[in-house]
Symmetry: C2
Subunit: 499 residues, 2 copies
């Protein structure tokens, strides 16, 4: 459907302008909140114009708040142009990451469920501009999101000025897939009435003060999606360990036959696990998660998953083609919610989510590092992994047992950065095996993790550490404090954790 | 009221027996779940008999699950007798702590809000026996708790056999103060309908299968309460920093004039902060917390706090006298809930709690260690601090800037154990000052924490670390990984973090 027909509100038609003109509302020093969650549904035209201005020599530095990672037209173009001075709460784009690690961008990774309320509470200061990609604008001025929802409702609510990019490459059949529900600020907050993953509790569009809309821009740039991570042997092994474990949990009566709603991150291991579920006997599954990716489309196609709730569609190029060609079909099995709701502790705990996330490294006591390589180098961010891990029914962390051709062990005496504490991690899985940590004391965890999950080439080093640590006077969480980070020190000095 | 009158159910009168006989239901290898949260409302007579049996040479080793810490008759007597092989989820008793740190007791400290559902889910295995202190038993066999609720409802629900200690030293005026509401297991869980701290949503007693009650025992041993921590100069300074900060937040429009419901730990700093509120202009306050302590009685007396919700009364000796003499008065301003509800993420996030907890040490990036001294030595446990910190509206951690006469700095380059990650900590306060970390990147946090909160005698050392760390290639969370724990290493080797 063409651009003009997508603006059904008469008053707003007068706000149409070029992306260049719209970009002029964004000035040096402003805080901008945008749509987008994974490279889906983020604004593209206006950021590209903003980058042009900066590249032409204009001084523009902004704080950028998004739902999660976004595509190259936003994080990439603006990072290369030096526009992003401050960034929240998650990113995966190469140039953005380089700026963070070189120190030119101030970055704070926040739990995704916290971000919408931090905007509402004023913890990020005033929001000057919201830029939101939209499918269309309804007769009453409701803004219909595209392939993600993220923080858009809170961006619209709190921003002084709003810029809308209507993206004609997004299929109109997406209208109706969204379920927009917003919480009040305390002390007026009410229970969120979701009892099943497919419950609809809100509207199919986002409301905002129409007077705040200063520009409507036409866009036809498709989501800059990422290629599908290949499923390698190690991922398949990890997937098999998890499927076997879930079968046992059902047998032991700790999980219903159709499990409980699944949450899964993205990437090759996640794809393998969801792929494994497709081949398994499990059926009637549901998902309550952030991202609905290719492998979830597979599960829907196979009749294994009856319903998936998320805050974004995150397909590969091939998956995007599938989504565009079968939008109605997938929309009827899916719901996209604001990330305040998709990641809400209240709902996650109530539904009893099985949370599956990946780790950079895991220590022998069950603490997980998801973000900082060797303690300092930011990879992506904690994202929603904390929201699901802290509130899930069952929390699973996966990692391949070594990295860098064996020079890094993903199982270490002490992680160099903690994102998930020992209190929250139930199950650790590598291609070597699975360690069930529930109910275990730290000393029991250490031996089980090393035995079941560490790579054979690191077991002796790890057991040696534990043996010596347990000789100390204090044996609750035994450490040789001067050596706790020696694995990392060796890698930084010598290029290998082994020597 | 005498013992017999407290058993209003005719059928159960036949179950009365001596504590000695009741203790015989507890056998070697069993898992026992008991009432008790802080030294309040825990069983006393039966544990003492159990200890006697072990001291007389009988081999009895059990796993003990409580609400939180309990008094000497349970943790102390059984630890000294070597009975507790495994312990969840929190403790503060000297002998118990020694057994944990010497390695003779396996201990896992768990988020308190997780414990009731872990019992329900079977994550601690089968519960053989529940021992619950009760005020009385109703006509229908309902068990009325005493000065705490903790995990008692889940203990009664899941145990094979139940022993009830009716404690005649507990005042009958406590009947009616409890509000027992239980959640279902997923996927049948419903919203918890609490919208205000004083909402009553359940019954005043706990239900259980009467057939499971194997023994009812008379007890008259009062709660073995702890003396009140003195408020020293440092605590007063910390309190003043917090009160000033809260005033500012109200001025900035980020908090309502009567704040939001308060949660506070126990101890001298907590007492000082609550004492400071009593002297402040704040009024119409509410509390949604775990423990209702002396200083909260003061706030109620002063008309400052109109209502307090918790899972236990935790008075000092003097406070206990006050509570016993004015039970009806305090009961009318208070509610005691199961800890699944008092600590529930859903309710904490909905109400928008101001969470105030104490730290052992805090690092320059805002990570908090609440449990393990020098990384290995268990102090008490994480308790409910995580439940409130992860879900609160505003999360505050307090610590005096040095310990051991200045040989320990509570502000360190990297904490030796992480209980609360950088993502969850908003405000750090020492007697030196307050650091507001909201919205700051790690590098900004480090300088602010050192400048505002570190003791002057450690500032140079800390700034030197940061300066050198920031010279590294990766500047997101700058660390000199070989020196990150050098403060701790120096203390362990030389008795001081300084040299």
């Amino acid at each position: 459907m063409n651009f003009n027909k997508r603006i059904r509100n008469e008053f707003l038609k007068s706000k149409v302008m070029s992306a260049r003109d719209a970009s002029l509302f964004i000035k040096d020093g402003m805080t901008v909140a945008s749509s987008g969650f994974t490279p889906s549904g983020y604004p593209k035209k206006v950021p590209l114009e903003l980058a042009k201005r900066a590249n032409a020599g204009e001084k523009i530095e902004i704080s950028l708040i998004t739902g999660a990672s976004v595509g190259d037209e936003l994080d990439g173009a603006l990072s290369r142009a030096g526009v992003i001075k401050r960034r929240y709460p998650y990113q995966t784009q190469k140039d953005m990451r380089n700026n963070i690690n070189s120190g030119s961008t101030f970055y704070a990774d926040h739990h995704l469920s916290h971000v919408p309320q931090h905007i509402d509470y004023g913890y990020y200061g005033n929001i000057d501009i919201a830029i939101v990609e939209a499918l269309c604008i309804t007769e009453d001025g409701g803004i219909v999101p595209t392939t993600s929802v993220g923080i858009s409702p809170q961006a619209l609510k709190n921003a002084d000025k709003i810029i809308v990019e209507i993206n004609t490459s997004q299929p109109m059949a997406l209208e109706g897939v969204h379920d927009i529900y917003m919480t009040e600020k305390p002390p007026k907050r009410k229970p969120i009435p979701i009892i099943n993953p497919d419950d609809r509790i809100g509207k199919t569009y986002m409301e905002c003060d129409l007077e705040k809309i200063v520009a409507i821009v036409e866009s036809d740039i498709p989501d800059n999606v990422r290629p599908l991570g290949a499923i390698d042997e190690n991922s398949k092994k990890i997937s098999n360990h998890i499927i076997e474990f879930l079968k046992d949990e059902v047998k032991e009566g700790r999980l219903p036959e159709n499990l409980l709603p699944l949450q899964s991150g993205v990437g090759s291991v996640a794809n393998a696990v969801l792929g494994g579920l497709k081949e398994s006997e499990f059926t009637n599954l549901t998902c309550y998660t952030e991202v609905i990716q290719d492998s979830m489309f597979d599960l829907i196609d196979a009749g294994k998953v009856k319903f998936a709730s998320g805050t974004s569609f995150t397909p590969s190029e091939e998956g995007l083609k599938r989504l565009l060609e079968n939008t109605e079909y997938y929309a009827s099995h899916c719901i996209l919610r604001p990330m305040e709701i998709s990641n809400n502790p209240e709902v996650i705990r109530r539904l009893g989510i099985i949370a599956m996330n990946t780790a950079i490294e895991i220590d022998i006591y069950g603490n997980v590092n998801s973000t900082n390589i060797m303690g300092s180098r930011m990879m992506n961010g904690i994202g929603g992994s904390g929201d699901f891990t802290r509130n899930g029914y069952l929390t699973i962390f996966t990692t391949v047992s070594t990295a860098k051709n064996g020079d890094i062990s993903s199982i270490v005496p002490m992680v160099s950065h903690v994102d998930h504490t020992e209190h929250d991690v139930h199950i650790v899985v590598t291609e070597q095996g699975l360690a069930d940590l529930r109910g275990l004391s730290p000393r029991e965890r250490s031996r089980k993790i090393i035995e079941n999950c560490a790579h054979p080439s690191y077991k002796d080093l790890l057991f040696d550490y534990v043996d010596r640590a347990e000789k100390n006077a204090y044996k609750h969480t035994p450490h040789v404090i001067g050596e706790a980070l020696a694995f990392h020190e060796r890698f930084i000095k010598n290029g290998s954790m082994k020597k």
